[in-house]
């Protein structure tokens, strides 16, 4: 039994000309971390809304552990972080988590311990937990939101732009938390425009456009993600230099995709591989004037036909 099963889901808002989702089908197993990417208005938030039972499908079915999305038992096992976390201004961080701990139906006796543990886990322990949330930065709010979503040790986790506003340490924390959830067997579905983060944490990636799933990939979460690196040589580089660069023995997990004059497009498997490539080129006396990341694998999905994006034209 799939943890999340979506079959032929179509959703058309009242009064809208076109449906927001068209014939979407999806099956996620326990432990899957599914990233949903796509341009604005693609239907990503609508998909999450349908899975949470906030939106009612026009056609098709959705089940979570063979239950309807608005089933109370599903709610007990759900964690949700909306794109914009709103809370009552009178609350402190600890108040907010206590509130949600109670709403989740968790035992009163475990509340102080659970709340304190959750706050420390996301780096909001101590003095920060007693401050009013109105004084929190965007990143702190996101951390608090993550803590809230994980309070009930969910079986289903829905995250909408989870790393928005987070500093690098917050992003690292986010990756750790998702990895923990994946190992626990939680089924995670997240929307994000931060494609590098999606590639790093997700085991499945769905590209949604105009309400339809355009592509669905399986990835190795945490594995290094391939991207392009465009290297431009100095304008005065001689033909010998160019030939030397072409013939260079490349490090592992680097390959030359194409060359256009003094511009070399490499496919590199990781940041480490990119660094190795540059070292090799410099060691070979190749005069590099510029090295910029080109389109990542996921960015290419967003490119319109005939238009190059990323790097220098």
């Amino acid at each position: 039994m799939a943890a999340i099963q979506v079959s032929n889901l179509t959703k058309k808002y009242r009064g809208a000309l076109n449906p927001a989702l068209v014939d979407v089908s999806l099956s996620l197993e326990p432990g899957d971390v599914c990233g949903v990417i796509g341009p604005n208005g693609a239907g990503k938030t609508t998909l999450i809304g349908c899975l949470l039972g906030f939106l009612f499908p026009t056609a098709g079915t959705i089940t979570l552990d063979d239950r309807a999305p608005d089933d109370l038992e599903v709610r007990r096992r759900t964690g949700y972080l909306p794109e914009r976390l709103v809370m009552d201004r009178w609350m402190s961080g600890a108040d907010f988590l206590r509130y949600h701990h109670a709403l989740a139906g968790l035992p009163d006796g475990s509340r102080p311990r659970d709340v304190e543990g959750a706050l420390y886990r996301v780096g909001l322990g101590g003095e920060a937990s007693q401050r009013r949330v109105a004084s929190y930065s965007r990143g702190m709010l996101q951390r608090l939101g993550l803590a809230q979503a994980l309070l009930n040790q969910p079986r289903f986790l829905f995250l909408d732009e989870p790393t928005s506003g987070m500093d690098p340490s917050g992003v690292v924390l986010f990756r750790e938390l998702i990895d923990e959830q994946r190992q626990r067997g939680t089924t995670v579905l997240l929307n994000s425009h931060q494609l590098d983060q999606v590639e790093r944490v997700c085991t499945r990636i769905i590209f949604v456009k105009a309400g339809r799933i355009q592509s669905m990939d399986t990835t190795d979460a945490g594995a290094s993600h391939q991207r392009d690196l465009r290297v431009r040589l100095h304008a005065d580089a001689s033909d010998d230099v160019v030939a030397r660069a072409v013939a260079l023995v490349l490090p592992e997990s680097v390959r030359l995709r194409s060359r256009n004059g003094l511009e070399f497009d490499y496919a590199v498997a990781s940041d480490g591989a990119a660094a190795e490539l540059l070292k090799c080129l410099i060691a070979a006396d190749v005069p590099i004037i510029e090295a910029v990341p080109g389109e990542g694998r996921l960015e290419r999905l967003f490119a319109e036909p005939g238009r190059r994006t990323g790097g220098n034209a």
Partner: protein, 236 residues
């Protein structure tokens, strides 16, 4: 009823400086005025309506427009549980404010002969019924529109009722007048025990009207909430 939701409502309402300021204004000044009208009497149900509006405005609609409601409904909280908890919390809050105002005036009202203890207790009962009845109406209206649209609907409804009453009077049509009265009675459900017991006999209608308006308000709220979709992109 969900105790967590109710406690959160009370904390949110009674720590809002704006709402407290408005409560002091709508309750305090009339209260002070009563001290100068001899003899002093305790307040009645009509005196707490303004306070109820201050406390109740946006009771559901505000949660909808701010996005707070989605986070609540992602929890194992049924929509009717949410509605009934908001209603009960609002009714209790309104009654608490009314009780406080009643209590402040009680000693002077009794000593000046303005109210007897029976009269005062009847007024307190009327205040309680008005609190929960009007809370149900606000809850129902608030479920229909986001933000503070409930106040707009309430105002529109009261104006319709008044207009119908006026039309009935002008056109000598008791039926139309009566419809106008019923609209007003439904939007601001109150019971006057004088109306129940006037003429020495028991009259059930005022209590039935109050109970009907209260249950209809709650049913409307639950029905509207059950049908409502929540999305950044939906029409609501």
């Amino acid at each position: 009823m969900n105790r967590t939701l109710m406690l959160a409502f009370w904390r949110e309402r009674f720590t809002s400086i704006i709402r407290i300021g408005l409560l002091i204004t709508v309750c305090g000044f009339p209260l002070i005025g009563r001290f100068f009208v001899k003899p002093v009497t305790v307040i009645g149900p009509a005196d707490i309506i303004a306070a109820m509006m201050v406390l109740g405005a946006g009771v559901i609609g505000r949660d909808i427009s701010t996005g707070v409601l989605q986070l609540i409904l992602a929890r194992p909280v049924t929509r009717r549980e949410y509605v009934l908890s908001r209603w009960l919390a609002l009714g209790c809050a309104g009654f608490a404010v009314g009780f406080l105002c009643w209590l402040i005036l009680l000693p002077l009202a009794l000593s000046s002969g303005g109210s007897t203890i029976n009269h005062a207790l009847l007024r307190l009962g009327e205040i309680g019924l008005a609190s929960f009845g009007f809370a149900a109406v606000i809850t129902g209206l608030s479920s229909l529109l986001p933000g503070f649209g409930d106040l707009a609907l309430l105002l529109a409804g009261v104006m319709v009722g008044s207009f119908l009453s006026f039309l009935g009077d002008v056109g000598k049509s008791p039926a139309v007048s009566r419809i106008g009265e019923e609209v007003a009675r439904t939007l601001v459900p109150m019971v006057s025990f004088g109306d129940v017991l006037y003429d020495g006999t028991f009259h059930a209608y005022p209590i039935l009207a109050w109970a009907s308006a209260t249950t209809l308000g709650l049913l409307l709220a639950i029905y509207a909430m059950n049908r409502r979709e929540f999305s950044y992109g939906s029409a609501g």
